[in-house]
């Protein structure tokens, strides 16, 4: 009898899962227990597991960034690049060496003193394709998409600055009916 009842419950385990705590007291006591247990487990995480988590976070943040136009003054491409390099390497020059560019060139891109060349982004794509292979499904073109998404957002958000001046130079000699 009990076995049949248990089967029904398990069959319905995903239909109507009520996961609310019954009271604040219950929540607080459960939260304390859980945090204690988690902190113990966190101490046992390897460096490799932490790097994997950070790289997964980076991928998810890049994907989130691409979902909506964001008009701010942040340098998203270089910020993501900085996180990527600093997560994997102990020094940025090691990454520069691995993708066969000078540390100065890398520093200029990361610090927004120079735009990344197409070849730079391509090398970055190949590098991240290899890095993410055993971590999660990562589309290497994400880097390109982030770069251009930022360009589009920056351009559209600064229309007030460039549009009036350039509009004076634009004529329609053959107007459409």
């Amino acid at each position: 009898m009990n076995s049949n009842k248990d089967n029904v419950l398990i069959e319905d385990a995903e239909y109507g899962l009520d996961s609310l705590y019954n009271s604040d007291k219950e929540y607080e006591s459960e939260a304390t227990l859980l945090m204690e247990a988690r902190l113990k487990r966190m101490k046992n995480l390897s460096k490799d597991q932490i790097i994997r988590a950070k790289l997964m976070q980076l991928k998810l943040r890049m994907e989130e960034y691409l979902k909506e136009p964001i008009y701010d003054n942040q340098n998203h491409f270089s910020d993501f690049l900085k996180v990527y390099v600093d997560t994997i390497y102990s020094t940025r020059s090691m990454f520069a060496k691995d993708i066969n560019i000078t540390p100065i060139r890398l520093s200029q891109v990361i610090n927004n003193h120079r735009e990344p060349k197409e070849e730079f982004i391509m090398k970055l794509m190949i590098h991240s394709d290899k890095v993410y292979q055993n971590i999660c499904d990562f589309q290497m073109e994400t880097w390109y998409q982030v770069y251009f998404h930022e360009k589009i957002c920056d351009t559209m958000s600064s229309q007030d600055k460039w549009k009036p001046k350039l509009a004076k130079d634009i004529k329609l000699s053959e107007s459409l009916k």
């Binding site: 069959e11 459960e30 932490i50």
Partner: protein, 155 residues
């Protein structure tokens, strides 16, 4: 991310998007178990096959940043997707993986997704999603949470 049609085995791409105010009146207790209007102040998402309007599953979440945790408050598949005769498989798994993505995106190596089911069904979540039990709360953390995301992203 996709669900599998049990009758044919075919895969269908899904989307998980925020529930809109207009959705609530069509979410009956008979089909979705709960009165979802009570969750309107929380983060509530619906799962549907891409291009379809039919809601196959609903989840409500609470982010608890001070604990690096996302707690699943309520979760349900639609009534025709429960038990052995279900039309689509992997609905709940996709919604839990979705909560896991939010947790990892926010908290990286500290990420945690938790839920507190009735004791009789806890074993289902432990077996199926590699959750751990602490007191009455089940949780999934790094490294298992990364495997969960990977498996639902790839499958």
């Amino acid at each position: 991310m996709h669900v599998i049609e049990t009758s044919s085995g075919s895969k269908h791409q899904i989307e998980i998007i925020p529930l809109e105010d207009g959705d609530y009146k069509s979410l009956t207790k008979t089909r979705y178990f709960f009165d979802w209007k009570t969750e309107q102040g929380y983060e509530v998402y619906k799962l549907r096959i891409a291009g379809s309007f039919d809601v196959l599953g609903i989840i409500s979440l609470e982010r608890i940043p001070q604990e690096w945790r996302v707690h699943i408050r309520l979760l349900t598949v639609s009534i025709e997707n429960k038990g052995e005769g279900k039309q689509y498989d992997m609905i709940a798994g996709n919604m839990i993986a979705f909560a896991a993505k939010i947790a990892v995106r926010e908290y990286a190596e500290y990420a945690c997704v938790s839920l507190k089911p009735k004791s009789q069904i806890a074993q289902h979540y432990i077996d199926r999603y590699q959750m751990r039990i602490t007191g009455m709360t089940l949780s999934i953390e790094v490294p298992e949470i990364l495997d969960l995301i990977k498996s639902y992203d790839n499958e």
